[in-house]
Subunit: 278 residues, 2 copies
């Protein structure tokens, strides 16, 4: 590596559950640093034995690299955490302890040190609702079905490849929302109206648009040199779709530079689905 | 509320981005407490004005409820954070500051205080790969297509409704992995072999099984009183599928009490897809 290369570290994510919380949060923190890092996931560390093994792995890395590894933990079992705290030569960032203890004081209740969020998911209503939402969103992808459309929490509309499918699935997966989506197609433009099945659900409809240049780029990856992907056709479709969304008074945004997380968050702010109210 | 009811608090999640990190992590922390809470998301707080508005909302809640609201923040802009810190009457849990400052010391580099992880996602290879993985997984759901099957990072097999589809989509959405899935059907059982298209990809195959009682329950929700959902048929299919997985020497797990996060994490540990190596 040249002298100008940013420093490299190994980062461990240790959890008694899946480690997904540790990793999601750790990645957000690490994104604040211009640094190359190697990631090692150590999920399901739920016995002292496994914790000792993790310590050996971390300390071995520390010696080999001559640098402290960064260790994010979301361990809730104090005995297992102690094995790591006592033995580990990495820089320990204890994500739970750091916030749980001050919260115990403020709330004046003890935390239950429960491992993981899912014990037997088949008995959890929230979890079953989430799986049902994923299935619903798949069955209502791309205007496939109008059955039970009124059960939708959100209905997305937009031209083909404007981001409807990944956003619908994300809304289902992350928030347990039933998200349908409908393509806007030349027939709709000719009729100058949204697909008729959608009329009774105006309040749940949200539009996705996209810059024609970007749309043409995305479509060309799938069908190179087609009329479908041509910049002229993309310009026409986007302009017709945006005009229709304005006429129909539905809210919409441009997805061109936005991630599905950002699109989903904006939709939730605008649509405020009842099911998300606590 | 009865005297036995756990205390109720309002919890705010404040972020200059989507707030998804704040909420994911905050929920994991709150799951440690037996407490009912009301959640308020305040995403895209990226100006001092919006921060002042957030402070007013929090302080209003504090007065109305006579209890400190809990406030999780993932603000990276120090000036915006200062507006919250100075004015807010809630209990502030500054998730970034808490870990970023010690990391700056250890790494001897300054954090860049960059807002959000996605600036212009259309230019990010990792992001585009993730969208491509979602599309790939959708197109390779339920054995729909053998095209480009060799591009799969993971191939899931199992009887209908054993959890293949949600797990495939989760692997794509969370990890950017191309996950195909194939149903095991009576034809395969008669032939006593995995679907022929899968033969060259043995190392990427992972099996999902499920307890027949639970399978029958799930199938009955979709097709009540059908042969498909009957306990006899479910027992037969599960037993044939498990025998086949054993014979073929592929790794598998039972999804009965597991969440898609737990299933996905176990699959990653076993399959170790190359694309996940850093």
């Amino acid at each position: 590596m040249s002298e100008n290369s940013p420093p490299t570290r190994t980062v461990f994510f240790i959890s008694d559950g899946t480690g997904i919380t540790a990793e999601t949060f750790g990645n957000a923190i690490l994104a604040q640093f211009e640094m190359k890092s190697r990631h090692v996931r150590l999920p399901f560390i739920d016995t002292a034995d496994k914790a000792h093994q993790a310590v050996r792995q971390i300390n071995h890395t520390a010696e080999r690299e001559g640098r402290k590894p960064i260790v994010f933990t979301t361990l809730v079992d104090m005995e297992i955490l102690k094995v790591i705290t006592d033995g580990c030569k990495g820089m320990l960032l204890d994500m739970f302890g750091t916030f749980v203890h001050p919260l115990e004081k403020e709330l004046r209740i003890k935390s239950n040190h429960r491992v993981g969020r899912f014990s037997d998911v088949s008995k959890s209503k929230a979890y079953n609702d989430r799986i049902e939402a994923i299935n619903f969103s798949l069955e209502h992808d791309d205007g496939q079905s109008n059955r039970d459309l009124e059960q939708s929490d959100v209905i997305l509309v937009g031209v083909s490849r404007s981001g409807k499918t990944p956003t619908s699935l994300y809304l289902a997966m992350q928030y347990g929302l039933k998200a349908s989506n409908y393509p806007l197609i030349p027939e709709d433009f000719d009729r100058r109206q949204l697909p008729p099945a959608l009329a009774p659900h105006q309040k749940k409809i949200f539009g996705l648009s996209i810059h024609p240049d970007r749309l043409s780029e995305i479509r060309n990856e799938r069908r190179p040199n087609s009329k479908y992907a041509s910049i002229e056709n993309c310009r026409m479709e986007v302009s017709e779709a945006e005009a229709m969304m304005r006429r129909s008074g539905i809210r919409w945004l441009s997805t061109t530079t936005k991630s599905i997380e950002e699109i989903a968050t904006t939709i939730l702010q605008e649509i405020k689905p009842e099911r998300l109210m606590y």
